[in-house]
Protein backbone atom coordinates (compact mmCIF):
# COMPACT_ATOMS: atom_id res chain seq x y z
CA UNK A 1 0.00 0.00 0.00
CA UNK A 2 2.73 2.41 0.87
CA UNK A 3 4.62 1.48 -2.22
CA UNK A 4 1.57 2.36 -4.22
CA UNK A 5 1.48 5.84 -2.77
CA UNK A 6 5.08 6.48 -3.65
CA UNK A 7 4.44 5.87 -7.31
CA UNK A 8 6.45 8.83 -8.61
CA UNK A 9 9.78 7.81 -7.24
CA UNK A 10 9.54 4.09 -7.74
CA UNK A 11 11.26 1.89 -5.23
CA UNK A 12 13.93 0.00 -7.07
CA UNK A 13 15.02 -3.12 -5.28
CA UNK A 14 18.56 -3.96 -6.25
CA UNK A 15 19.62 -7.57 -6.50
CA UNK A 16 22.02 -8.60 -3.70
CA UNK A 17 25.51 -7.40 -4.42
CA UNK A 18 26.85 -10.94 -4.44
CA UNK A 19 24.79 -11.96 -7.47
CA UNK A 20 25.71 -9.20 -9.90
CA UNK A 21 28.83 -7.47 -11.08
CA UNK A 22 32.25 -9.00 -11.00
CA UNK A 23 31.75 -10.88 -7.77
CA UNK A 24 28.50 -12.44 -8.94
CA UNK A 25 30.06 -13.39 -12.24
CA UNK A 26 33.04 -15.01 -10.55
CA UNK A 27 30.81 -16.94 -8.19
CA UNK A 28 28.71 -18.23 -11.00
CA UNK A 29 31.43 -19.07 -13.48
CA UNK A 30 34.62 -19.74 -11.56
CA UNK A 31 33.66 -21.01 -8.11
CA UNK A 32 30.26 -22.59 -8.57
CA UNK A 33 31.30 -26.06 -7.41
CA UNK A 34 34.32 -27.38 -5.50
CA UNK A 35 35.56 -28.98 -8.71
CA UNK A 36 35.30 -25.68 -10.59
CA UNK A 37 37.10 -23.93 -7.75
CA UNK A 38 40.00 -26.37 -7.96
CA UNK A 39 40.15 -26.00 -11.75
CA UNK A 40 40.16 -22.23 -11.44
CA UNK A 41 42.99 -22.26 -8.94
CA UNK A 42 45.09 -24.62 -11.07
CA UNK A 43 44.57 -22.61 -14.23
CA UNK A 44 45.27 -19.30 -12.56
CA UNK A 45 48.51 -20.61 -11.09
CA UNK A 46 49.66 -22.04 -14.42
CA UNK A 47 48.93 -18.72 -16.09
CA UNK A 48 50.75 -16.94 -13.27
CA UNK A 49 53.83 -19.10 -13.67
CA UNK A 50 53.99 -18.75 -17.42
CA UNK A 51 52.75 -15.24 -18.08
CA UNK A 52 54.87 -13.33 -15.62
CA UNK A 53 58.21 -14.43 -17.12
CA UNK A 54 56.84 -13.91 -20.62
CA UNK A 55 55.78 -10.36 -19.83
CA UNK A 56 59.16 -9.69 -18.25
CA UNK A 57 60.91 -11.08 -21.31
CA UNK A 58 58.70 -9.53 -23.96
CA UNK A 59 57.93 -6.15 -22.46
CA UNK A 60 59.92 -5.20 -19.38
CA UNK A 61 63.50 -6.30 -20.13
CA UNK A 62 63.16 -5.99 -23.88
CA UNK A 63 64.95 -3.70 -26.33
CA UNK A 64 62.95 -2.03 -29.05
CA UNK A 65 65.16 0.52 -30.77
CA UNK A 66 66.94 -0.30 -33.99
CA UNK A 67 70.54 -1.36 -33.53
CA UNK A 68 70.24 -1.48 -29.76
CA UNK A 69 72.64 -3.86 -28.12
CA UNK A 70 70.43 -6.72 -27.00
CA UNK A 71 72.95 -9.16 -25.71
CA UNK A 72 72.92 -9.73 -21.96
CA UNK A 73 69.69 -7.90 -21.21
CA UNK A 74 67.81 -11.15 -20.64
CA UNK A 75 64.83 -9.69 -22.47
CA UNK A 76 63.41 -9.90 -25.93
CA UNK A 77 65.32 -8.24 -28.72
CA UNK A 78 62.62 -6.59 -30.77
CA UNK A 79 65.40 -4.57 -32.33
CA UNK A 80 65.81 -7.39 -34.78
CA UNK A 81 62.43 -6.37 -36.18
CA UNK A 82 62.90 -2.63 -36.05
CA UNK A 83 66.33 -2.92 -37.70
CA UNK A 84 65.37 -5.40 -40.38
CA UNK A 85 61.69 -4.92 -41.07
CA UNK A 86 62.37 -3.73 -44.59
CA UNK A 87 64.17 -6.94 -45.50
CA UNK A 88 61.71 -9.15 -43.65
CA UNK A 89 58.66 -7.55 -45.21
CA UNK A 90 59.93 -6.76 -48.69
CA UNK A 91 62.92 -8.99 -49.35
CA UNK A 92 65.34 -7.56 -51.89
CA UNK A 93 62.91 -5.04 -53.28
CA UNK A 94 64.97 -1.84 -53.71
CA UNK A 95 64.72 -0.05 -50.38
CA UNK A 96 64.50 3.48 -51.77
CA UNK A 97 61.24 2.78 -53.58
CA UNK A 98 59.38 0.83 -50.93
CA UNK A 99 56.46 3.25 -51.21
CA UNK A 100 55.43 1.27 -54.27
CA UNK A 101 54.84 -2.12 -52.64
CA UNK A 102 53.44 -0.36 -49.57
CA UNK A 103 50.87 1.42 -51.73
CA UNK A 104 50.03 -1.83 -53.50
CA UNK A 105 49.51 -3.67 -50.22
CA UNK A 106 47.39 -0.86 -48.78
CA UNK A 107 45.23 -0.99 -51.91
CA UNK A 108 44.87 -4.75 -51.62
CA UNK A 109 43.97 -4.69 -47.95
CA UNK A 110 41.43 -1.88 -48.42
CA UNK A 111 39.78 -3.74 -51.26
CA UNK A 112 39.64 -6.91 -49.19
CA UNK A 113 37.98 -4.99 -46.39
CA UNK A 114 35.46 -3.34 -48.70
CA UNK A 115 34.69 -6.72 -50.26
CA UNK A 116 33.81 -8.11 -46.85
CA UNK A 117 30.52 -6.28 -47.07
CA UNK A 118 28.20 -8.06 -49.47
CA UNK A 119 26.18 -4.89 -50.03
CA UNK A 120 29.11 -3.59 -52.06
CA UNK A 121 29.22 -6.62 -54.34
CA UNK A 122 28.40 -5.19 -57.72
CA UNK A 123 29.91 -4.65 -61.14
CA UNK A 124 31.65 -1.50 -59.92
CA UNK A 125 33.55 -3.42 -57.25
CA UNK A 126 34.51 -6.01 -59.86
CA UNK A 127 35.97 -3.31 -62.12
CA UNK A 128 37.70 -1.71 -59.13
CA UNK A 129 39.40 -5.04 -58.45
CA UNK A 130 40.50 -5.41 -62.05
CA UNK A 131 41.86 -1.87 -62.30
CA UNK A 132 43.48 -2.01 -58.86
CA UNK A 133 45.17 -5.31 -59.68
CA UNK A 134 46.60 -3.75 -62.81
CA UNK A 135 47.79 -0.69 -60.88
CA UNK A 136 49.32 -2.93 -58.20
CA UNK A 137 51.10 -4.92 -60.88
CA UNK A 138 52.46 -1.76 -62.50
CA UNK A 139 53.53 -0.34 -59.15
CA UNK A 140 55.45 -3.49 -58.28
CA UNK A 141 56.92 -4.10 -61.70
CA UNK A 142 57.57 -0.52 -62.80
CA UNK A 143 59.09 0.17 -66.19
CA UNK A 144 56.34 2.58 -67.23
CA UNK A 145 55.49 6.19 -66.33
CA UNK A 146 59.09 6.71 -65.29
CA UNK A 147 58.84 4.07 -62.57
CA UNK A 148 62.13 2.29 -62.19
CA UNK A 149 61.67 -1.34 -63.33
CA UNK A 150 62.03 -4.00 -60.63
CA UNK A 151 62.83 -7.54 -61.61
CA UNK A 152 60.17 -10.01 -60.47
CA UNK A 153 62.91 -12.16 -58.95
CA UNK A 154 63.40 -9.37 -56.42
CA UNK A 155 59.84 -9.42 -55.14
CA UNK A 156 60.01 -10.95 -51.72
CA UNK A 157 58.70 -11.06 -48.20
CA UNK A 158 55.11 -10.20 -47.65
CA UNK A 159 54.68 -9.12 -51.28
CA UNK A 160 55.43 -12.64 -52.41
CA UNK A 161 53.37 -14.28 -49.68
CA UNK A 162 50.34 -12.15 -50.49
CA UNK A 163 50.82 -12.56 -54.23
CA UNK A 164 51.04 -16.33 -54.00
CA UNK A 165 48.14 -16.66 -51.63
CA UNK A 166 45.67 -14.09 -53.00
CA UNK A 167 46.05 -15.31 -56.57
CA UNK A 168 46.48 -18.89 -55.46
CA UNK A 169 43.28 -18.97 -53.44
CA UNK A 170 41.13 -16.94 -55.84
CA UNK A 171 42.17 -19.11 -58.77
CA UNK A 172 42.03 -22.41 -56.89
CA UNK A 173 38.49 -21.92 -55.63
CA UNK A 174 36.69 -21.71 -59.00
CA UNK A 175 38.99 -24.37 -60.42
CA UNK A 176 38.10 -26.63 -57.50
CA UNK A 177 34.38 -26.07 -58.16
CA UNK A 178 34.82 -26.99 -61.81
CA UNK A 179 36.73 -30.14 -60.83
CA UNK A 180 33.99 -31.08 -58.36
CA UNK A 181 31.32 -30.63 -61.02
CA UNK A 182 33.45 -32.58 -63.46
CA UNK A 183 33.76 -35.41 -61.00
CA UNK A 184 29.96 -35.64 -60.91
CA UNK A 185 29.67 -35.40 -64.68
CA UNK A 186 27.88 -38.04 -66.69
CA UNK A 187 30.50 -37.82 -69.42
CA UNK A 188 32.97 -40.62 -68.68
CA UNK A 189 36.01 -38.87 -70.14
CA UNK A 190 35.56 -35.73 -68.06
CA UNK A 191 34.66 -37.71 -64.98
CA UNK A 192 37.68 -39.98 -65.23
CA UNK A 193 40.00 -37.07 -65.85
CA UNK A 194 38.72 -35.19 -62.81
CA UNK A 195 38.93 -38.20 -60.52
CA UNK A 196 42.42 -38.97 -61.77
CA UNK A 197 43.56 -35.39 -61.28
CA UNK A 198 42.09 -35.01 -57.81
CA UNK A 199 43.38 -38.31 -56.52
CA UNK A 200 46.80 -37.82 -58.05
CA UNK A 201 47.28 -34.36 -56.57
CA UNK A 202 45.94 -35.35 -53.18
CA UNK A 203 48.30 -38.29 -53.18
CA UNK A 204 51.46 -36.19 -53.26
CA UNK A 205 52.76 -33.54 -50.85
CA UNK A 206 52.85 -29.91 -51.95
CA UNK A 207 56.61 -29.91 -51.62
CA UNK A 208 56.97 -32.50 -54.34
CA UNK A 209 54.70 -30.48 -56.62
CA UNK A 210 56.82 -27.41 -55.99
CA UNK A 211 59.96 -29.39 -56.81
CA UNK A 212 58.37 -30.74 -59.95
CA UNK A 213 57.41 -27.26 -61.05
CA UNK A 214 60.85 -25.80 -60.39
CA UNK A 215 63.14 -28.69 -61.38
CA UNK A 216 61.33 -31.15 -63.61
CA UNK A 217 58.93 -28.93 -65.51
CA UNK A 218 61.64 -26.66 -67.05
CA UNK A 219 63.26 -29.73 -68.59
CA UNK A 220 60.26 -30.11 -70.85
CA UNK A 221 60.32 -26.54 -72.06
CA UNK A 222 61.89 -25.87 -75.45
CA UNK A 223 65.35 -24.34 -75.50
CA UNK A 224 65.38 -20.64 -74.66
CA UNK A 225 61.92 -20.56 -73.19
CA UNK A 226 61.87 -19.99 -69.46
CA UNK A 227 58.96 -19.43 -67.17
CA UNK A 228 59.42 -17.32 -64.13
CA UNK A 229 59.94 -19.24 -60.89
CA UNK A 230 57.25 -17.37 -59.00
CA UNK A 231 54.73 -18.17 -61.71
CA UNK A 232 55.66 -21.84 -61.59
CA UNK A 233 55.24 -21.95 -57.82
CA UNK A 234 51.97 -20.11 -58.22
CA UNK A 235 50.66 -22.71 -60.65
CA UNK A 236 51.71 -25.54 -58.33
CA UNK A 237 49.89 -23.92 -55.40
CA UNK A 238 46.75 -23.38 -57.46
CA UNK A 239 46.73 -26.96 -58.74
CA UNK A 240 47.29 -28.33 -55.28
CA UNK A 241 44.68 -26.27 -53.48
CA UNK A 242 42.09 -26.82 -56.23
CA UNK A 243 42.13 -30.57 -55.68
CA UNK A 244 41.32 -30.15 -52.00
CA UNK A 245 38.64 -27.55 -52.66
CA UNK A 246 37.13 -29.94 -55.22
CA UNK A 247 36.65 -32.65 -52.63
CA UNK A 248 35.15 -30.23 -50.14
CA UNK A 249 32.73 -28.91 -52.75
CA UNK A 250 31.82 -32.43 -53.81
CA UNK A 251 30.73 -33.09 -50.25
CA UNK A 252 28.42 -30.08 -50.48
CA UNK A 253 27.00 -31.21 -53.81
CA UNK A 254 26.27 -34.68 -52.48
CA UNK A 255 24.49 -33.17 -49.52
CA UNK A 256 21.99 -31.47 -51.82
CA UNK A 257 18.43 -32.72 -51.88
CA UNK A 258 17.49 -34.34 -55.20
CA UNK A 259 14.29 -32.31 -55.14
CA UNK A 260 16.28 -29.13 -55.75
CA UNK A 261 17.65 -30.48 -59.03
CA UNK A 262 14.18 -31.67 -60.04
CA UNK A 263 12.51 -28.37 -59.21
CA UNK A 264 15.14 -26.50 -61.23
CA UNK A 265 14.74 -28.93 -64.12
CA UNK A 266 10.99 -28.71 -64.02
CA UNK A 267 10.96 -24.95 -64.57
CA UNK A 268 13.23 -25.44 -67.56
CA UNK A 269 16.54 -24.14 -66.24
CA UNK A 270 19.49 -25.65 -68.10
CA UNK A 271 22.49 -27.31 -66.47
CA UNK A 272 24.61 -24.19 -66.12
CA UNK A 273 21.72 -22.13 -64.75
CA UNK A 274 20.71 -24.89 -62.35
CA UNK A 275 24.22 -25.13 -60.98
CA UNK A 276 24.88 -21.42 -60.82
CA UNK A 277 21.56 -20.24 -59.45
CA UNK A 278 20.22 -23.13 -57.43
CA UNK A 279 22.75 -25.78 -56.51
CA UNK A 280 26.10 -24.06 -55.99
CA UNK A 281 24.78 -21.20 -53.83
CA UNK A 282 23.37 -23.78 -51.44
CA UNK A 283 26.15 -26.34 -51.66
CA UNK A 284 28.93 -23.77 -51.24
CA UNK A 285 27.16 -22.29 -48.25
CA UNK A 286 27.13 -25.68 -46.55
CA UNK A 287 30.85 -26.11 -47.12
CA UNK A 288 32.03 -22.67 -45.99
CA UNK A 289 33.68 -24.00 -42.81
CA UNK A 290 35.70 -26.81 -44.48
CA UNK A 291 36.55 -24.57 -47.47
CA UNK A 292 37.95 -21.94 -45.17
CA UNK A 293 40.05 -24.58 -43.44
CA UNK A 294 41.48 -25.57 -46.80
CA UNK A 295 42.12 -21.94 -47.74
CA UNK A 296 43.77 -21.16 -44.41
CA UNK A 297 46.09 -24.11 -44.62
CA UNK A 298 46.87 -23.28 -48.25
CA UNK A 299 47.75 -19.75 -47.15
CA UNK A 300 50.17 -21.08 -44.57
CA UNK A 301 51.54 -23.63 -47.03
CA UNK A 302 52.73 -20.85 -49.31
CA UNK A 303 55.67 -20.68 -46.91
CA UNK A 304 56.89 -23.96 -48.41
CA UNK A 305 58.15 -22.06 -51.44
CA UNK A 306 61.32 -21.41 -49.40
CA UNK A 307 62.50 -24.81 -50.48
CA UNK A 308 62.61 -23.79 -54.12
CA UNK A 309 64.52 -20.64 -53.27
CA UNK A 310 61.78 -18.05 -53.33
CA UNK A 311 62.08 -15.30 -50.74
CA UNK A 312 58.70 -15.30 -49.09
CA UNK A 313 58.09 -13.96 -45.59
CA UNK A 314 59.61 -17.00 -43.91
CA UNK A 315 62.74 -17.01 -46.08
CA UNK A 316 63.44 -13.30 -45.65
CA UNK A 317 63.17 -13.78 -41.90
CA UNK A 318 65.64 -16.66 -42.03
CA UNK A 319 67.98 -14.51 -44.09
CA UNK A 320 67.96 -11.88 -41.39
CA UNK A 321 68.59 -14.47 -38.72
CA UNK A 322 71.65 -15.75 -40.52
CA UNK A 323 73.45 -12.45 -39.96
CA UNK A 324 75.92 -12.84 -37.08
CA UNK A 325 74.59 -9.75 -35.35
CA UNK A 326 71.11 -11.22 -35.03
CA UNK A 327 71.92 -14.83 -34.46
CA UNK A 328 70.06 -16.27 -31.48
CA UNK A 329 67.06 -14.00 -31.73
CA UNK A 330 64.95 -16.33 -33.79
CA UNK A 331 62.14 -16.42 -31.21
CA UNK A 332 61.48 -12.70 -31.67
CA UNK A 333 61.58 -12.92 -35.45
CA UNK A 334 59.30 -15.92 -35.61
CA UNK A 335 56.84 -14.38 -33.18
CA UNK A 336 56.67 -11.40 -35.46
CA UNK A 337 55.88 -13.35 -38.61
CA UNK A 338 53.57 -15.66 -36.68
CA UNK A 339 51.60 -12.54 -35.79
CA UNK A 340 51.37 -11.56 -39.44
CA UNK A 341 50.17 -15.02 -40.42
CA UNK A 342 47.75 -15.04 -37.52
CA UNK A 343 46.18 -11.72 -38.48
CA UNK A 344 45.59 -12.94 -42.04
CA UNK A 345 44.14 -16.28 -40.98
CA UNK A 346 42.00 -14.64 -38.35
CA UNK A 347 40.64 -12.28 -41.01
CA UNK A 348 39.65 -15.26 -43.13
CA UNK A 349 38.00 -17.17 -40.36
CA UNK A 350 36.02 -14.23 -38.93
CA UNK A 351 34.95 -13.34 -42.43
CA UNK A 352 33.72 -16.86 -43.07
CA UNK A 353 31.64 -16.80 -39.90
CA UNK A 354 30.16 -13.45 -40.87
CA UNK A 355 29.31 -14.83 -44.31
CA UNK A 356 27.67 -17.90 -42.79
CA UNK A 357 25.45 -15.71 -40.62
CA UNK A 358 24.47 -13.50 -43.52
CA UNK A 359 23.59 -16.42 -45.75
CA UNK A 360 21.53 -18.17 -43.13
CA UNK A 361 17.98 -18.06 -44.48
CA UNK A 362 16.26 -20.65 -42.34
CA UNK A 363 15.34 -18.38 -39.50
CA UNK A 364 12.95 -19.94 -37.02
Amino acid sequence: MELHAENENKVIIKPPITSIGIIGWMRENLFSTPFNTILTIIIVSVLWISIIPFVKWALINSSWLPDANCRGTGGACWSIISSNYKIILFGFYPQDILWRPVTAIVMLVSLLFISRNRNFWNAFLGYSWLISLMIMGLLLKGGVFGLEPVDIEKWGGIILTLLLSVFGLTAAYPLGIILALGRQSEMPVIKTFCIFYIELIRGVPLISLLFMSSVVFPLFLPEGVSINGILRAQVAIIMFTAAYIAEVVRGGLQGMNKGQFEAADSIGLNYVQTMRLIILPQALKIVIPPSVSVLISAFKDTSLVVIIGLYDLLKTTQTTLSEPKWMGFSAEAYIFIALIYFVCCFFMSTYSRKLEDELNTDLE
Partner: protein
Protein backbone atom coordinates in the same frame (compact mmCIF):
# COMPACT_ATOMS: atom_id res chain seq x y z
CA UNK B 1 -17.04 -25.80 -54.73
CA UNK B 2 -19.90 -27.00 -56.79
CA UNK B 3 -19.55 -30.10 -58.86
CA UNK B 4 -21.66 -28.88 -61.77
CA UNK B 5 -19.89 -25.55 -62.30
CA UNK B 6 -16.49 -27.13 -62.24
CA UNK B 7 -17.35 -29.60 -64.93
CA UNK B 8 -18.84 -26.89 -67.11
CA UNK B 9 -15.42 -25.92 -68.39
CA UNK B 10 -15.78 -27.90 -71.54
CA UNK B 11 -13.06 -29.58 -73.43
CA UNK B 12 -13.64 -27.16 -76.25
CA UNK B 13 -11.13 -28.38 -78.76
CA UNK B 14 -10.03 -31.86 -79.51
CA UNK B 15 -6.36 -30.86 -79.44
CA UNK B 16 -4.34 -33.55 -77.83
CA UNK B 17 -1.63 -31.98 -75.69
CA UNK B 18 -0.12 -35.10 -74.19
CA UNK B 19 0.11 -38.28 -76.20
CA UNK B 20 1.70 -41.39 -74.77
CA UNK B 21 1.96 -44.39 -77.08
CA UNK B 22 3.03 -47.91 -76.07
CA UNK B 23 5.41 -46.49 -73.49
CA UNK B 24 7.58 -48.68 -71.27
CA UNK B 25 10.03 -47.79 -68.57
CA UNK B 26 12.48 -49.83 -66.59
CA UNK B 27 14.56 -49.02 -63.53
CA UNK B 28 17.43 -51.38 -64.24
CA UNK B 29 15.68 -54.73 -64.60
CA UNK B 30 12.55 -53.58 -62.87
CA UNK B 31 9.70 -52.97 -65.34
CA UNK B 32 7.90 -50.05 -63.65
CA UNK B 33 5.70 -48.87 -66.50
CA UNK B 34 4.18 -51.36 -68.90
CA UNK B 35 2.69 -50.40 -72.21
CA UNK B 36 1.18 -47.08 -71.20
CA UNK B 37 -1.21 -45.46 -73.67
CA UNK B 38 -2.76 -42.14 -72.79
CA UNK B 39 -4.12 -39.12 -74.63
CA UNK B 40 -4.77 -35.95 -72.70
CA UNK B 41 -6.80 -33.27 -74.44
CA UNK B 42 -6.46 -29.58 -73.95
CA UNK B 43 -8.27 -28.39 -70.79
CA UNK B 44 -8.80 -31.94 -69.67
CA UNK B 45 -8.26 -32.85 -66.03
CA UNK B 46 -7.05 -36.31 -65.24
CA UNK B 47 -6.65 -37.87 -61.83
CA UNK B 48 -4.27 -40.79 -61.46
CA UNK B 49 -4.69 -43.05 -58.47
CA UNK B 50 -3.53 -46.45 -57.38
CA UNK B 51 -1.66 -48.20 -54.61
CA UNK B 52 1.78 -47.18 -53.43
CA UNK B 53 4.57 -48.26 -55.76
CA UNK B 54 2.23 -48.70 -58.73
CA UNK B 55 4.19 -46.19 -60.82
CA UNK B 56 2.01 -43.09 -60.62
CA UNK B 57 4.85 -40.72 -59.85
CA UNK B 58 7.07 -42.32 -62.43
CA UNK B 59 4.37 -41.89 -65.07
CA UNK B 60 3.89 -38.18 -64.56
CA UNK B 61 7.63 -37.62 -64.15
CA UNK B 62 8.08 -39.15 -67.58
CA UNK B 63 5.81 -36.45 -69.00
CA UNK B 64 8.42 -33.75 -68.30
CA UNK B 65 11.30 -36.15 -68.59
CA UNK B 66 12.39 -36.10 -64.99
CA UNK B 67 12.49 -39.81 -65.78
CA UNK B 68 13.53 -41.19 -69.13
CA UNK B 69 11.37 -43.83 -70.84
CA UNK B 70 13.00 -46.63 -72.79
CA UNK B 71 10.34 -47.65 -75.27
CA UNK B 72 7.40 -46.04 -77.01
CA UNK B 73 6.63 -42.38 -77.52
CA UNK B 74 5.72 -39.40 -75.41
CA UNK B 75 4.63 -36.31 -77.30
CA UNK B 76 3.93 -33.15 -75.33
CA UNK B 77 2.55 -30.09 -77.07
CA UNK B 78 3.63 -31.53 -80.39
CA UNK B 79 7.20 -32.12 -79.24
CA UNK B 80 8.42 -35.68 -78.93
CA UNK B 81 10.59 -36.32 -75.89
CA UNK B 82 13.92 -37.73 -76.99
CA UNK B 83 17.49 -37.26 -75.82
CA UNK B 84 17.45 -33.81 -77.46
CA UNK B 85 18.17 -31.44 -74.56
CA UNK B 86 16.71 -28.39 -76.27
CA UNK B 87 13.36 -30.17 -76.72
CA UNK B 88 13.40 -31.35 -73.13
CA UNK B 89 14.02 -27.82 -71.84
CA UNK B 90 11.27 -26.53 -74.12
CA UNK B 91 8.77 -29.09 -72.84
CA UNK B 92 9.74 -28.45 -69.24
CA UNK B 93 9.17 -24.75 -69.61
CA UNK B 94 5.65 -25.46 -70.95
CA UNK B 95 4.78 -28.02 -68.30
CA UNK B 96 4.49 -27.01 -64.65
CA UNK B 97 5.17 -29.53 -61.95
CA UNK B 98 4.21 -29.49 -58.28
CA UNK B 99 5.98 -31.91 -55.94
CA UNK B 100 4.93 -33.62 -52.77
CA UNK B 101 7.70 -31.89 -50.82
CA UNK B 102 7.31 -28.44 -52.46
CA UNK B 103 11.01 -28.21 -53.39
CA UNK B 104 11.17 -24.45 -53.07
CA UNK B 105 14.65 -22.94 -53.31
CA UNK B 106 15.48 -22.23 -49.66
CA UNK B 107 18.22 -19.68 -50.38
CA UNK B 108 15.91 -17.42 -52.40
CA UNK B 109 13.03 -15.28 -51.18
CA UNK B 110 9.50 -16.21 -52.20
CA UNK B 111 9.43 -13.64 -54.96
CA UNK B 112 12.88 -14.73 -56.21
CA UNK B 113 11.64 -18.32 -56.29
CA UNK B 114 8.91 -17.16 -58.63
CA UNK B 115 10.92 -14.87 -60.87
CA UNK B 116 13.88 -17.15 -61.49
CA UNK B 117 12.12 -19.14 -64.22
CA UNK B 118 10.69 -16.18 -66.14
CA UNK B 119 13.96 -14.25 -65.93
CA UNK B 120 16.35 -17.03 -66.94
CA UNK B 121 14.23 -19.27 -69.14
CA UNK B 122 11.80 -16.79 -70.69
CA UNK B 123 14.25 -13.85 -70.60
CA UNK B 124 11.56 -11.64 -69.11
CA UNK B 125 12.88 -8.32 -67.76
CA UNK B 126 13.19 -8.42 -63.97
CA UNK B 127 10.56 -5.77 -63.34
CA UNK B 128 7.98 -7.51 -65.47
CA UNK B 129 8.84 -10.90 -63.93
CA UNK B 130 8.21 -9.41 -60.50
CA UNK B 131 4.81 -8.15 -61.62
CA UNK B 132 3.93 -11.61 -62.90
CA UNK B 133 5.14 -13.10 -59.63
CA UNK B 134 3.01 -10.73 -57.55
CA UNK B 135 0.00 -11.47 -59.72
CA UNK B 136 0.24 -15.20 -59.06
CA UNK B 137 1.07 -14.70 -55.39
CA UNK B 138 -2.19 -12.73 -55.12
CA UNK B 139 -3.90 -15.56 -56.88
CA UNK B 140 -2.73 -18.11 -54.33
CA UNK B 141 -3.42 -15.53 -51.60
CA UNK B 142 0.02 -15.20 -50.20
CA UNK B 143 1.28 -11.89 -51.60
CA UNK B 144 2.11 -10.51 -48.17
CA UNK B 145 4.83 -13.16 -47.75
CA UNK B 146 6.72 -12.17 -50.89
CA UNK B 147 9.86 -10.99 -49.13
CA UNK B 148 10.19 -13.94 -46.78
CA UNK B 149 12.24 -17.09 -47.24
CA UNK B 150 10.56 -20.49 -47.73
CA UNK B 151 11.75 -21.70 -44.33
CA UNK B 152 9.57 -19.07 -42.69
CA UNK B 153 6.29 -20.33 -44.21
CA UNK B 154 3.98 -23.14 -43.23
CA UNK B 155 3.71 -26.25 -45.40
CA UNK B 156 0.43 -25.18 -46.97
CA UNK B 157 1.84 -21.76 -47.77
CA UNK B 158 4.98 -23.28 -49.26
CA UNK B 159 2.94 -25.55 -51.49
CA UNK B 160 0.87 -22.60 -52.71
CA UNK B 161 4.10 -20.76 -53.48
CA UNK B 162 5.30 -23.83 -55.39
CA UNK B 163 2.11 -23.79 -57.47
CA UNK B 164 2.55 -20.06 -58.12
CA UNK B 165 6.16 -20.69 -59.14
CA UNK B 166 4.99 -23.10 -61.83
CA UNK B 167 2.24 -20.76 -62.96
CA UNK B 168 4.72 -17.92 -63.49
CA UNK B 169 6.07 -19.87 -66.46
CA UNK B 170 2.56 -19.64 -67.99
CA UNK B 171 2.45 -23.41 -68.52
CA UNK B 172 -0.06 -25.15 -70.80
CA UNK B 173 -0.11 -28.22 -68.60
CA UNK B 174 0.23 -28.70 -64.86
CA UNK B 175 1.37 -31.93 -63.22
CA UNK B 176 0.69 -32.53 -59.53
CA UNK B 177 2.42 -35.38 -57.70
CA UNK B 178 0.61 -35.89 -54.40
CA UNK B 179 0.68 -32.16 -53.77
CA UNK B 180 -1.20 -32.46 -50.49
CA UNK B 181 0.21 -35.68 -49.05
CA UNK B 182 2.96 -34.04 -47.02
CA UNK B 183 0.63 -31.47 -45.46
CA UNK B 184 -1.01 -31.35 -42.07
CA UNK B 185 -4.76 -32.00 -42.48
CA UNK B 186 -5.79 -28.40 -41.80
CA UNK B 187 -3.62 -27.18 -44.68
CA UNK B 188 -4.85 -29.61 -47.30
CA UNK B 189 -7.92 -27.55 -48.10
CA UNK B 190 -6.07 -24.30 -48.85
CA UNK B 191 -3.97 -26.12 -51.43
CA UNK B 192 -6.90 -28.03 -52.94
CA UNK B 193 -8.78 -24.74 -53.25
CA UNK B 194 -5.97 -23.31 -55.34
CA UNK B 195 -5.98 -26.42 -57.53
CA UNK B 196 -9.75 -26.19 -57.95
CA UNK B 197 -9.54 -22.57 -58.99
CA UNK B 198 -6.90 -23.52 -61.55
CA UNK B 199 -9.29 -26.14 -62.86
CA UNK B 200 -11.98 -23.53 -63.19
CA UNK B 201 -9.62 -21.40 -65.25
CA UNK B 202 -9.38 -24.26 -67.73
CA UNK B 203 -5.87 -25.52 -67.01
CA UNK B 204 -4.93 -28.92 -68.40
CA UNK B 205 -4.05 -30.98 -65.35
CA UNK B 206 -2.69 -34.41 -64.58
CA UNK B 207 -3.05 -35.00 -60.86
CA UNK B 208 -1.74 -37.87 -58.78
CA UNK B 209 -3.72 -37.78 -55.56
CA UNK B 210 -5.38 -39.76 -52.83
CA UNK B 211 -8.00 -37.02 -52.36
CA UNK B 212 -11.00 -38.84 -53.75
CA UNK B 213 -13.28 -35.86 -53.11
CA UNK B 214 -11.10 -33.81 -55.43
CA UNK B 215 -11.18 -36.57 -58.03
CA UNK B 216 -14.97 -36.79 -57.92
CA UNK B 217 -15.60 -33.09 -58.26
CA UNK B 218 -12.82 -31.96 -60.57
CA UNK B 219 -11.64 -34.80 -62.79
CA UNK B 220 -12.94 -35.51 -66.25
CA UNK B 221 -11.30 -38.90 -66.17
CA UNK B 222 -9.84 -41.09 -63.46
CA UNK B 223 -7.00 -43.52 -64.20
CA UNK B 224 -6.31 -46.41 -61.90
CA UNK B 225 -2.80 -47.86 -61.97
CA UNK B 226 -1.49 -51.04 -60.50
CA UNK B 227 1.90 -52.69 -60.95
CA UNK B 228 2.92 -50.33 -63.70
CA UNK B 229 -0.20 -50.63 -65.81
CA UNK B 230 -3.24 -48.46 -66.31
CA UNK B 231 -5.89 -51.04 -65.52
CA UNK B 232 -8.97 -48.89 -65.43
CA UNK B 233 -9.88 -45.58 -67.00
CA UNK B 234 -13.27 -44.02 -66.55
CA UNK B 235 -15.35 -40.96 -65.73
CA UNK B 236 -15.37 -40.25 -61.99
CA UNK B 237 -19.03 -41.25 -61.63
CA UNK B 238 -18.49 -44.63 -63.22
CA UNK B 239 -15.16 -45.09 -61.53
CA UNK B 240 -16.44 -44.59 -58.01
CA UNK B 241 -19.93 -46.03 -58.36
CA UNK B 242 -19.38 -48.82 -60.79
CA UNK B 243 -15.74 -49.94 -60.86
CA UNK B 244 -15.07 -52.69 -63.37
CA UNK B 245 -11.85 -54.24 -62.24
CA UNK B 246 -11.49 -56.29 -59.07
CA UNK B 247 -8.30 -54.55 -58.11
CA UNK B 248 -10.00 -51.19 -58.45
CA UNK B 249 -12.81 -52.40 -56.22
CA UNK B 250 -10.35 -53.57 -53.62
CA UNK B 251 -8.44 -50.29 -53.75
CA UNK B 252 -11.61 -48.22 -53.45
CA UNK B 253 -12.88 -50.28 -50.56
CA UNK B 254 -9.61 -49.67 -48.73
CA UNK B 255 -9.39 -46.00 -49.42
CA UNK B 256 -13.03 -44.99 -48.97
CA UNK B 257 -13.85 -46.77 -45.76
Amino acid sequence: MNKETSKKVDISSEDIVIQIVNMHKWFGDFHVLKNINLDVKKRERIVVCGPSGSGKSTLIRCINRLEEHQKGQIIVDGIELTKDLKNIEKVRSEVGMVFQHFNLFPHLTIVENLTIGPIWVRKTPKKEAEEIAMYYLEKVQIAEQAAKFPGQLSGGQQQRVAIARSLCMKPNIMLFDEATSALDPEMVKEVLDVMISLAQDGMTMVVVTHEMGFAKSVAHRVLFMDEGEIIEENSPDEFFNNPQNDRTKLFLSQILY
